[in-house]
């Protein structure tokens, strides 16, 4: 009977009526597991439904794990040998990613302690695959009870069930924000490689929360530091706007609602020559990386959408020769990329994150507010793994 509740096919007319008949004893039915739809076994036709859990060409990351199982993790294949690496390198970013660190985020108490299982010996990478594992400690199956019944709006529940015939309940699916742990762990390694190789830094900060928009010229990308970003719980490097943003979040939080926003991400000291001219343009790779993060709705770089309101002569990003004899551009409206190839200027991107749909009203009253700002936990560390790969493929010459 429990299964009849949890296994409605995607196009059923009674998905919602099933919800209406919700049995309060539901939570007693195998609470710790995924529910599998009972749709009839598919005919004997081999099905490709690749989970797409591998990223990169040279620096390749495979991630695995769900919230409901023993833990999550990743394998990094292609990390160069002789890189100093320890759990501490990753832990820093994993702690930043972790929700529940302040009143404005989900109050989960995860510890996310990582352990390296292979690929590192005596503190140095050996060139073999690096397996990083983070055990789950806060499974809280009982909070997700209702999700077993109805598809949560704006979530992956419905589409995942339709594609795989599997309900993604209890935060358990791969669409869980916990999936980004593997990105952050591998991103921490990528950041070390980039820093070591070319002094390249990737930084991200919150530049908009709801209707509070940080004016672009308040932040100097040449001097921005991680400390400035980390100086407040909303991760906006301008203290005044940080306060405004926190107030905006608090205002919606108290009524059980959530907000979205924009993250600005910059790449500083990017080597010239990354990317290639046709299908694998650098901006195309960056867009794919950014848009693979949960809850993203848009990507722009350089002049972006605002640039469409300029004429060509206004938009022009003139060249000049700086005091060191280097060819530079004056306005960086090109956003550090021209013709698909980095030109050495700062790459600046803006990524839109929707207000998280797991709200405290309507269907899922038992779920705590999952505040959108959680994206700052992972964006600045999840980009590098992609970036390193572009790095490898385009600049190792």
């Amino acid at each position: 009977m429990a299964s009849s509740l949890s296994t409605k096919p995607f196009s059923s007319t009674d998905a919602l009526s099933a919800f209406a008949s919700l049995n309060p004893d539901l939570r007693s039915f195998s609470p710790g597991y995924l529910r599998l739809s009972l749709r009839p076994r598919l005919p004997k036709r081999l099905q490709i439904r690749a989970a797409g859990s591998i990223y990169g060409n040279h620096f390749r990351v495979s991630t695995y794990g769900e919230s409901h199982g023993g833990g999550v993790g990743c394998i990094i294949d292609g990390c160069p040998p002789h890189l100093p690496l320890s759990e501490a390198d990753m832990q820093l970013d994993l702690d930043r990613r972790r929700p529940g660190q302040s009143r404005i985020t989900t109050p989960r108490k995860e510890t996310d302690t990582c352990k390296i299982f292979s690929g590192v010996s005596e503190g140095l990478t050996t060139g073999t695959p690096i397996h990083v594992f983070v055990p789950n400690t806060d499974q809280r199956g009982h909070d997700y009870t209702e999700m077993a019944v109805a598809y949560r709006p704006s979530h992956a529940d419905a589409t995942y069930d339709m594609k795989y015939g599997v309900r993604s309940v209890q935060g358990g699916g791969r669409s869980s924000a916990r999936e980004t742990i593997g990105r952050v762990a591998s991103g921490a390694v990528a950041k070390k490689i980039l820093k070591d190789f070319s002094g390249t830094e990737i930084l991200a900060y919150v530049s908009q929360v709801y209707n509070i928009v940080l004016p672009e010229d308040l932040i100097d990308h040449d001097t921005l530091t991680l400390d400035q970003i980390e100086s407040n719980i909303v991760r906006c490097p301008d203290p005044e706007y940080a306060e405004k943003m926190i107030s905006a979040i608090d205002a919606v939080r108290v009524r059980g609602d959530s907000v979205g926003g924009v993250v600005t991400c910059i790449v500083r000291n990017c080597p010239r020559g990354l990317g290639s001219p046709v299908f694998d343009k650098l901006e195309a790779e960056l867009a794919k990386a950014a848009m693979s993060l949960p809850a993203t709705k848009g990507f722009q770089f350089g002049s972006g959408f605002a640039g469409t309101f300029l004429t060509g002569s206004e938009h022009n990003d003139e060249f000049y020769i700086d005091e060191h004899g280097n060819t530079r551009t004056r306005t960086n409206r090109s956003g550090g990329i021209q013709g698909g190839i980095s030109n050495g200027e700062i790459i600046n991107m803006r990524i839109a994150f929707k207000p998280t749909s797991t709200i405290g009203v309507s269907l899922i009253s038992s779920l705590s507010v999952f505040i959108t700002i959680s994206f700052t936990h992972h964006t600045d560390t999840s980009h590098p793994d992609m970036f390193t790969d572009i790095f490898h493929s385009a600049y190792s010459c």
Copy 2:
């Protein structure tokens, strides 16, 4: 001596002064060819600088060719057999892509007549690679003379030279808009496959030119037709706004300037279940495809950047059961994709194209205005090739 003019290294202090000393006889030096930088041969270190000219996994397209050579073309590997296909299928879209069809676009007179060299027999595809070739007819080497000297701002000239040590002059490089011919030809094949397989249609139209913004609710995506889009030279399906856009273009055109804009692209009758939950989310693949087009600066889908000004409860895309018993969403703020997987609603994307930088002032006075609207020539046909691949990989089950 000509070569000394054309071979400035990227960080030279005299790139601009070289331009000042431009010898009027320059054009007599091998006018029909690429100039190669005379930088010393690189040391014996094998260099990976992949041109990235192959796209897709199952439906794979390799493109080649420059404006200065004999022609451009592509090979399509992985097209299913038994598909009716002729040059006429591609020619329709190639003609749409071709600039110079109206006063608002570059007045080049290219004919872009394609020829199929392999993979089709008696009007049907055979499952073997399809080679499509489009000869160059309008090389006009003399117009590009000055480009041989100075890097054009906001172009790929400088970055291409830096990466490959090769000047991309005379419209000759792979960054030329002519590169998209291979995308359009293969996209025409992809469109046929999609239409045939699931009735899927991809349509694109101009929704913003400079400061003329088409209100979203003027266009009904359920009934929009290609004829409506093609009914005017600016390819905006609303006649009134089309007139405003044309006027805006004319206003800047007469003073030798250019404008940018936004293209809206929709996917109608998209099967459910495309895309996968982690790195290969459908929106990530679409973003990469769109951002690999020349001159793009931004990508958004569904509620996009505007959605960040909503709260979670406002943004929520509620499910309901329609009259056919299908699970649908009410607002489509999800833009047809949830958790990285298509849900069957219309996928709607908006792509920002910068004002083309090849303007009639400053360095390159001899070049005609290249009006931004040319992007409409290829966007709706270049998406499908990407889409088909997602199709293959995700839905062939």
Copy 3:
């Protein structure tokens, strides 16, 4: 001082003299770890030295782990949902792979107990990545002491050090036979998929040991069973030849030597149509898969090398129509593959394994004999993972 012993560069003149001066106290220096060569850090030039630990396109396997660390394992990405799967399915093949089960193999006492950490819920796969982990229990660091000093002949020690600057001591590198555990675990999953989908079976048996060559016609590939293969410790389905092989192994084993041999692998009930006509021929994929196993020196299928002694008219594999109206071939000299595509007949392959070079004489007297026959532990289970991928890509239509 220990490091000076263990860090000889590849072209050092004193690799062997270092061995001569071997300090008996060597084992006291960090016995449980990889030794890293002390060669100077490479210049700031990003290096691609991908470890190549990911296999497949749709059914993708990432393996990790060394003998010296906490364990080995793999992630399987792309396994279809709803497949019944438990540790027991893999344990069967892991036990078969495990050395030390009889007197003719390495007497290590590994237990190789696997655990599934993700991707399976309530006994069924969920379509998400499956992480399988096998802890190391028998590290025996002390046995490998001498390897820290000199390169073992015919091993990967020297080349691995040269390429990565890392010594692969103590059985610790990825070249360890323990690396195949990840193949076997994923192969067990692949075998279930194949069996379920099309009744396809992959069986392997020993057809030659040293100079004992099993006559081909003694084995009926149409009726061969796993039980027949498993009926003796040498895994030759013919009892008489099995005895001869065991005697041959015993004869060399008592004098501390080892032997090689040939494994025959067949694919029964292979669907027609796998493979494609040009670069990705089925035999090419199978050859790559087989030759990626440790210690392999050769691959042949169908008539193989022997077929070169026939004339074309003798070799011809004539078609006929069987009683069910199916087009069959009479001789199967084609080995189940024609023009790169499976034709439905039994695919038969023969793979040569060299005598393992870790012998009890010369440099490494403390190492136990590692008998070649160990290859039978993994070949029949490591093929399927490759095969499934071909399956997916070629036959899912």
Copy 4:
């Protein structure tokens, strides 16, 4: 009616009876085209049947074209810029590949004149895709008439029809030996890169024809030259054995039969460090490359199958330090590769080619003898393109 003859489904009982009723007027039916099977259109289920016509990761080759169309060719993506390149570089190898140059090969009179259409400017590569085209000049449709009716034994006809539903008649399919033209053209480019970068040479010669087996020690791989190989029509560098081989071929040729043989291929001055330890072992990549050539039945390197008759102590490939202080191996039974990684010794491979099945007896009396020795036309040039890719990926560090 013609179509009823040419469109027998794969499992038809009357494929052969159709042949019996062969109408002498058949040739009048669309003689210049592929025949398409008339099997009913497949249901609306998108089908992946990738032709697999793209090879490589960094140096990527896409080939296209059939014998029956306008020509064949390839696109090379990822060739470094500044490489001197002209048609003459490729023509040399294309001429070597071309059949019909001596009495022992197919007497076709193809000229195979190549033309470069893109990617080269003023004699140097520009880093953009190189398109090479070779027009067909000898289509001879009338010779292939009978093939339209019955499947040729040991050919790709039956499997291709089964997989794609398309008959591969008139030498027209991708299984035609003419497909290798694209390999040879791209291989010629690869050979230049390898020679230029590291002095690496790849040479191949015939070491067995039918029962004439060239003793291995007659050829000194350190000094072997292309001139020695080209000194006779059978391409065996030993003149005495060349004569024996030619006699053996003549003996079977006069009775309308054919023979197979073995090609030995060596890689000299191979850099150390190519290949990686697990799935992408160098021998695995080489095996795939070799086995993707038409008519191959086996691959071995180093001690190969013969090595299985040695004990471990006999087989051992001991290290020593040569006069230049380099670590070398004494016997090269490892065949230049240890643990999947090249060690700097000569890589030696042996590839078995079956006797070509297109014989002058039985079904296809009108076809001329296609003598097996034609493989020498392409093997030594088709390997390099694969090798260059390994090169790029493994050694660009």
